[in-house]
């Protein structure tokens, strides 16, 4: 069987988790030319609490559309980190927003304060999801940064392109600093 890479994005309703999932799927599928499936929590559980979006990326047609054992988990709040950590592959990558996730279940967790960065550097907390996407792509190389930027700019509301481009850069820089051990 071909290559199959599974990403789960999670947080609370309103953090832009589903939008992040759609952007990531578009970047990998439409711009990077891979096969993608994107699913999301739906119904009452999607409003507040632990909301999730999943993206499966492959070089061949995807059979089962949902994540089986995610390779990457992004947790934007404590509740979703606690709820979904145990689904992660043993060698999988956990990325958390350290603004809200104070207790990480593993010492290998990559903790970056996405919401804090959005607040402090961009003065808009709502772009924390784009900051996180920039970091996620840099850390995992799941999509090319060029494709991600194209997908972000194609999806965000007109007039917010600059803000979102800066948010993406902030996320990329934060991830680079992390990788340099800073």
């Amino acid at each position: 069987m071909g290559y199959r890479y599974e990403v789960r994005l999670s947080g609370s309703g309103g953090q832009g988790i589903i939008m992040a999932g759609i952007i990531l799927a578009e970047a990998a599928g439409v711009y990077d030319g891979k096969y993608v499936c994107q699913t999301q929590s739906y119904g009452p559980e999607a409003r507040g609490g632990a909301s999730k979006a999943e993206v499966v990326i492959s070089d061949e047609e995807i059979d089962y559309p949902k994540a089986i054992k995610p390779d990457v988990l992004l947790a934007m709040n404590q509740k979703s980190c606690d709820a979904y950590f145990f689904d992660l592959k043993p060698e999988g990558t956990l990325v958390v927003d350290s603004t809200f996730v104070k207790q990480t279940p593993t010492t290998r967790a990559i903790a970056i304060p996405f919401t804090q960065i959005a607040r402090a550097e961009l003065k808009k907390e709502m772009v924390a999801n784009i900051v996180a996407l920039g970091a996620l792509a840099t850390l995992t190389k799941v999509v090319s940064l060029g494709s991600l930027e194209a997908a972000v700019l194609a999806r965000v509301p007109a007039g917010t392109e600059d803000l979102n481009r800066k948010a993406l850069e902030a996320g990329i820089n934060a991830a680079k600093l992390y990788m340099q051990g800073l």
Binding site: Y35, V36, P65
Partner: protein
Amino acid sequence: MNEQATTGRQVLLQGNEAMVEGALAAGCTFFAGYPITPATEISEVMSVKLPAVGGTFIQMEDEIASMGAIIGASLAGAKSMTATSGPGFSLMQENLGFACVAEVPCVVVNVMRGGPSTGLPTNVSQGDVMQARWGTHGDHPIIVLAVSSTKDCFDITVKAFNLAEKYRTPVIILSDEVVGHTREKINLPHPGEIEVIDRIRPNMPPEWYVPYEDNSRGVPPMGIFGDGYRYHVTGLIHDVRGFPTQRPDEIVPFLNRIHRKISQHFFDILMVEEELAEDAEILVVAYGSVARSAKRAVREARQRGVKAGLLQLITLWPFPRQILEPYLRKVKAVLVPELNMGQVSREVKRINQGVTRVETINRIDGNLITPEEILVRLIKM
């Protein structure tokens, strides 16, 4: 790596959105519906896209009226469609029977959710397989197709319109919550690349037109309201001119013809997909979203030395009996996983007549059957 067709337009779409694209590509110009979870996106996108191409979108007061509206639009010459879920599909049954008897082409989408009644609005199910076949009363012919991916939602919707037009019959598409809401990258073909079939219209002088006269295909040419071919449309059993009859020598040929027009074209209507099925010792029979779990399960089973294969049903009704029967004679066992208490498995068992062992996985908790559940059973079998 990327061997997908390079023509057309690559987009990320939900299954529900892809259905709208398929309908428009097939020439749909009329949609009447009432929004319902998890089919709402079909109405939502239709309400934007259909007027933009000169078509008509109407949000109706309920699903009874929606079905009535698409029948009327079709009689007036439009390719018409509605979309709903279980509770709305129940309301459509009466007029669906009318469309069968009056031989009105139309497409009805049911994005299945948990039932019965209002049930589980946001959860996946496959509980309406038998309703799609027998929901409206009386012996009637019907075509029912099941979709499993975003690509299917486009392709099979085009096919549904083509079959409806070709055989003058309602065609039901059974989707489900998972298929409807999963976003996938698909390649939208250019209009010229798609086969589009239109109903056969009468070409004799209008005064010679006999609206329900039999022919070798069993499908009479269809006059359009307003084009001079005047005829009577009724849900009562009618004679060749369309007027009610109680004469046995008219009733029987009529009912036989509307059944024959489907049965004699069985192999044109039949669609299945086979994955590793040819030499399989255990055959999985699946459809809709579950077929995707099953596909993964049989691939994994092969890696573990279990000779499993998949027969994926796209045409559910008429049931693909002629395809299934040869398998029943050669496999050691059949497994039918589905999101109901055993609707397709019941049909498989009926055809099987004890020839081979038929097992089932029935999940009714509102969640999709996972590849692992099927794999574990395949290994045990």
